[in-house]
């Protein structure tokens, strides 16, 4: 049987499911949207959304890899965007981006220290910080939005940080590609990646082999915060303005991307390409619902149904692959 030959491959590469689902959805969307979905302009829009959601998902995937979770990333994204916009009006965008990433790192450090020092489950800690930093974002903006005046929206650093297109695609996409390559190398080919996955596989065993478990976890929380804030920076660069609700509910999309992409919530097994494909699938579904004119009232409902169906399909595929 040709099909059963694929089983070991699917077992070894849990992310294949989401790639298969992605392929099916692409064909479905392309054939049923009258050309409104499958054109270069729309694809560029989808990829811009994928880039920001993807950067966030990569960070979340790393945290999931250690067996923890970070659901505060939506608020970190918002804080990054606001920091960038506030400073970009005064200093060079590159410095503003560095400051935004530093804010993200600080939030990650805060999460990581609370989780590792107190031993409290990361789910509840980051749920708390999700609210804390959303609250700060809303308080900072006082109901208004931060924006960069049109006159300030130029210069090559502004362009590089999501504020323009290169070869028809938003510059955020190129950042995503670069970050993905670096993180994949770190995860698969460097000692840090080996230890990260070991911590997720069995923290006790990793500890007994001399791995500093808390340090690894803390580092992934910091990386996750930095990536979320950087994603917020790129989104802010694209839009030029942001309010206190920026990035709201994105944390759930990022977690969904990771899980759809074959990351095991228990830790130890993650796929960065899978998480990105998950982000792409989610952005594609959203775009499809927009271009086919689904009424906004139904939007969230249908998005949710497709996500559930995709998750179910992925799970069935994996179970099929595990059967002898």
């Amino acid at each position: 049987m040709a099909l059963s030959a694929a089983k070991p491959l699917i077992r070894r590469h849990t992310e294949l499911g989401i790639f298969l689902i992605g392929a099916v959805l692409i064909v479905l969307f392309a054939t049923t949207s009258d050309g409104k979905w499958a054109n270069l302009f729309n694809l560029a829009t989808i990829l811009q959304v994928t880039a920001t959601l993807g950067l966030m998902s990569l960070g979340v995937a790393l945290v999931i890899g250690t067996g923890e979770i970070d659901i505060s990333v939506g608020s970190t994204f918002g804080m990054g965007a606001l920091t960038y916009l506030w400073l970009a009006a005064q200093v060079d965008p590159s410095l503003a981006a560095v400051a935004a990433i530093a804010v993200g790192a600080a939030i990650g450090l805060f999460n990581g220290l609370l989780v590792t020092k107190t031993g409290t489950p990361s789910l509840i800690i980051t749920l708390g910080t999700l609210m804390i930093f959303r609250g700060i974002a809303i308080a900072l903006t006082e109901g208004f939005s931060f924006s960069i005046p049109y006159a300030g929206r130029n210069g090559w650093t502004y362009f590089l940080l999501g504020g323009g297109d290169f070869l028809r695609f938003n510059t955020a996409l190129y950042w995503l590609i670069a970050v993905t390559i670096i993180l994949m190398a770190v995860l698969k080919a460097m000692p840090f990646g080996n230890r990260l996955l070991a911590v997720g596989g069995s923290a006790e065993s990793a500890h007994s082999r001399g791995v500093r478990v808390d340090r690894i976890k803390l580092t992934t929380f910091i990386l996750c915060g930095m990536l979320a804030a950087f994603a917020g920076t790129l989104e802010a660069g694209k839009l030029g303005f942001a309010d206190g609700s920026m990035g709201r509910l994105m944390e759930l999309q990022a977690i969904a991307s990771c899980v759809l992409g074959g990351c095991l919530l228990a830790g130890g097994r993650i796929s960065l390409p899978g998480a990105l494909m998950g982000a792409f699938v989610l952005s594609s579904i959203q775009s499809y619902l927009v271009v086919t004119g689904v009424r906004p009232q139904w939007f969230i409902l249908i998005l949710g149904l497709i996500v559930v169906a995709a998750a179910y399909g992925d799970r069935s595929l994996r179970q099929w692959a595990l059967r002898k």
């Binding site: 000692p191 080996n194 070991a198 065993s205 990793a206 007994s208 001399g210 130890g268």
Partner: protein, 258 residues
């Protein structure tokens, strides 16, 4: 055979887990070139004691001296760096990683490219393959296979192979022959004796006094978190020592105090 000062000296060690008193005023010396049988029933505190020695637990009070120096900080990394290799019973392998990655976990060999440390996969594979062949794992098991696929005996073999490969000064074996076939068990016991003959301190934990009595120079018996007997194998037979364990150490405790 034994050197003048002990390689590991434990003095008045106490360990509490909340209200549970896991180790009670334990004092014991271990010398280089000795094979020690650490024996006791389940829950006697053997594993807890060696988990202090290999840095997993920090004691509540008491002192540990390694090579004459007082140990101030307890962490597995420090113990491994000092040359204390431990074959743990239930932990030590991450199921989600390959044999080669487990083998070098925490001390990965790297090749630097532009100063960036990349894993030296060739070396990791080569060395771990040699060890798994030496320990007679199935031919279809490769160093790239995840540990999840291995049987209990194979997992044990990987852990022992790893400890032997990195042997330094102390090898602690916690129930090393669990899950092993008769042939594999013999192999492990021979290894333990070889390591001792090379001048290492070997601490061999088991609840089978007869098995370890043949190998060991000295037997330390624990019971209920206390050391209840400490005798050289030439001075007490396995049967006598078994009686001590059966009595819960109470009779001998008085004898020892004399």
């Amino acid at each position: 055979m034994t050197s003048t000062h002990p390689l590991i000296q434990v003095r008045n060690l106490d360990l509490h887990f909340g209200a549970f008193h896991a180790l009670k005023n334990v004092s014991v010396d271990f010398h280089a070139g000795e094979l020690i049988g650490l024996v006791g029933d389940n829950g006697a505190g053997k594993t807890t004691l060696i988990r202090v020695l290999c840095g997993i637990y920090a004691p509540s009070s008491g002192e540990v001296f390694f090579d004459g120096k007082k140990v101030e900080k307890f962490h597995p990394k420090l113990a491994i760096d000092q040359g204390i290799e431990t074959i743990q019973q239930s932990v030590g392998l991450c199921d989600n990683l390959s044999i080669a990655r487990n083998f070098y976990l925490g001390r990965e060999p790297v090749k630097r490219i532009l100063g960036i440390p990349f894993l030296d996969f060739a070396r990791m594979r080569e060395k771990s393959t040699r060890v798994i062949r030496q320990f007679g794992l199935r031919d279809n098991v490769s160093a790239d296979d995840e540990v999840e696929r291995l049987s209990g005996g194979e997992r044990q073999s990987v852990k022992i192979g790893r400890a032997v490969e990195f042997k330094n000064r102390v090898v602690i074996m916690d129930e090393p022959t669990n899950h092993l076939s008769v042939r594999e068990r013999e192999h492990v016991n021979e290894l333990a004796v070889q390591l001792k003959e090379q001048g290492l301190l070997v601490i061999y934990i088991t609840h089978d006094i007869f098995q370890v009595h043949r190998l060991a120079d000295r037997i330390v018996i624990m019971e209920n978190g206390e050391k209840v007997a400490d005798a050289s194998t030439s001075s007490m037979t396995a049967e006598e020592l078994e009686e001590v364990i059966r009595q819960g150490g109470r009779v001998v405790e008085k004898q020892e105090a004399v």
